[in-house]
Amino acid sequence: MTATTTRAVRERSLVGPPRRPRGTGYLYVLPAFLVYAAFLLYPLARSVQISFYDWDGLTLGRWIGLDNYADVLRNDDLRDAFGHALVLMVFYALVPLCVGLVLASILNRAKVRGLSFFRTVVFLPQVIAMVVVAVAWRRIYAPDGPLNSLLHAVGLGSLTRAWLGDYGAALPAVGFIGTWFETGLVTVLLLAGMSRISPELYDAVRLDGGGPVREFFAVTLPSVRGEIAVALTLTVIAALRTFDLVYVTTRGGPGTSTSVPSYEVYHRAFELGKVGSAAAIGVCLTIIIFVISFAITRVGDRDSTS
């Protein structure tokens, strides 16, 4: 206490611009922090608290300790839901990253005209409400929809099916929608990174007699590690937070073949009356997202500095 007072006195006595009154900083942060604490931090704490109870949302809850968390590991439906999230990660993150790397490095090599128009077009899926995206793809995947018509037209009629109603096809079908809207984002992000690479680096490889493939692995790939880390963080988190899409396209079905953690949170809390379990899944989801974004950022940082 005395230490801060003396420091304040000393600071005020220094020659310089007049100091602002003490506490101003708090005053400026306060309004934002109050709303934030009331509608985000407090609910998060409540989520943790509720996750220790067996509660149906109406009657008095019963303390069950970590049982809801043990369920996440033990319960088949929940384990499946997290497994489905992993599959979605392949479609949301891995496929767009591979496609994006190839596309961006090809486009970066030859400066083509119309690139900014192209950027606008492929980024468009990012700004459209997921419900609208889901409505569009439900139509595409419908038994009498454009995808099946296309397959018939090219003589692959045997492959046609009700894509979102098929046990084997529904999850990849939902995942492919993710590939569709994440590929543009990843490509634009990588293009921005590649445009900053100095042309001399490429010249050096060419002088050594290296072709496009050498260029890619020796120059392009190491230069965009930071962008790759950002792209992975964004898309992996998007995969884990898939809710709107599943809610509108499949509602987790057929059976539980497309249930994902986000959907389970909603389904359990508001349809099954397992509020404690829903809260536990929400908390797990938050922890997983934190760990993943932290880990990817770390790896990206270390690689780019070494």
Partner: protein
């Protein structure tokens, strides 16, 4: 160095990729502008201009109550954007330019909210707001989104104010400008591009939000546009035309804004993720 063949191959790739990105959107647009495929509606029933059945939008607007939903979405978006941007400017200013005890801790607290999924908070929020009698109100939809937007907004404005000219602030202070004057008369005018980006992103996220309104609201008059569309899709099963028209109506406000301010959207969404 780059051959003509490679260059034309690049154009082919560009066109194919753009077509892939546009195809689903084109499917919806084409259906919305085509003849109504619902049984019982004569193909000439809706008004058409140059073969495009624009009357579908009027029919969908009427049948799907999109007027009500768009009004709610507009109210929520304007409220969330206005409140959260002002609060973010204030808190970003304090965390970016002032040093006080706990400022780092406060910053990390806000950072937590950027990554936190809505799924983690929506469950207790619903039950606590129900106890307070606040579910099924405008506030239950708007305030949680203000909190989420303030987290990103504080982070965004702080990053901007930290890099803004220190010399300018010092000069203004020497001239006897108060802390408040420095913010609104000196810093905000310079930061205006960053503020516009924040407005645009917050508007888009709020307009497109689905889970919060889905959980908080049962009254039809309080449904936002995406929520209204989801319910319309569940109830209207006669055909795809009107559903497509509804989807176009819901997507248009953000899509239009994107066409005019696409640079802000793209740079904002990419930088927002890169800055750490």
């Amino acid at each position: 160095m780059i051959s003509r063949a490679e260059r034309s191959a690049n154009y082919v790739i560009l066109v194919l990729f753009a077509a892939f990105a546009l195809a689903p959107i084109g499917t919806v647009l084409a259906a919305a502008l085509g003849p109504d495929d619902a049984p019982g509606s004569g193909s000439g029933s809706a008004a058409s201009i140059a073969g495009l059945h624009v009357g579908n939008f009027a029919t969908a607007w009427h049948v799907g109550h999109f007027g009500t939903y768009l009004r709610m979405s507009l109210l929520v978006s304007v409220f969330v954007v206005t409140v959260s941007v002002i609060l973010s400017i204030l808190s970003g200013y304090a965390l970016g330019t002032m040093r006080f005890r706990g400022s780092t801790l406060l910053f990390y607290a806000f950072l937590l909210g950027i990554m936190m999924p809505s799924e983690a908070i929506v469950v207790p929020l619903y039950f606590d707001l129900r106890t307070l009698g606040l579910t099924d109100t405008f506030w239950a939809v708007a305030l949680p989104q203000v909190a989420q937007s303030v987290a990103f907004g504080t982070f965004w404005m702080r990053a901007y104010f930290r890099t803004s000219s220190r010399a300018l602030v010092e000069a203004a202070r020497m001239d006897g400008a108060s802390t408040r004057t420095i913010l609104w008369r000196v810093l905000v005018p310079i930061a205006w591009p960053a503020v516009v980006t924040l407005i645009v992103l917050t508007f888009m996220w709020t307009w497109n939000e689905f889970l919060v309104p889905l959980v908080m609201v049962t009254a039809e008059s309080l449904r936002t546009a995406p929520l209204g569309l989801a319910f319309f899709q569940g109830q209207y099963t006669q055909g795809f035309t009107l559903l497509a028209a509804g989807a176009v109506i819901v997507a248009t406000p953000v899509a239009l804004l994107y066409l005019f301010l696409q640079r802000k959207f793209i740079s904002g969404m990419l930088e927002g993720a890169v800055r750490e």
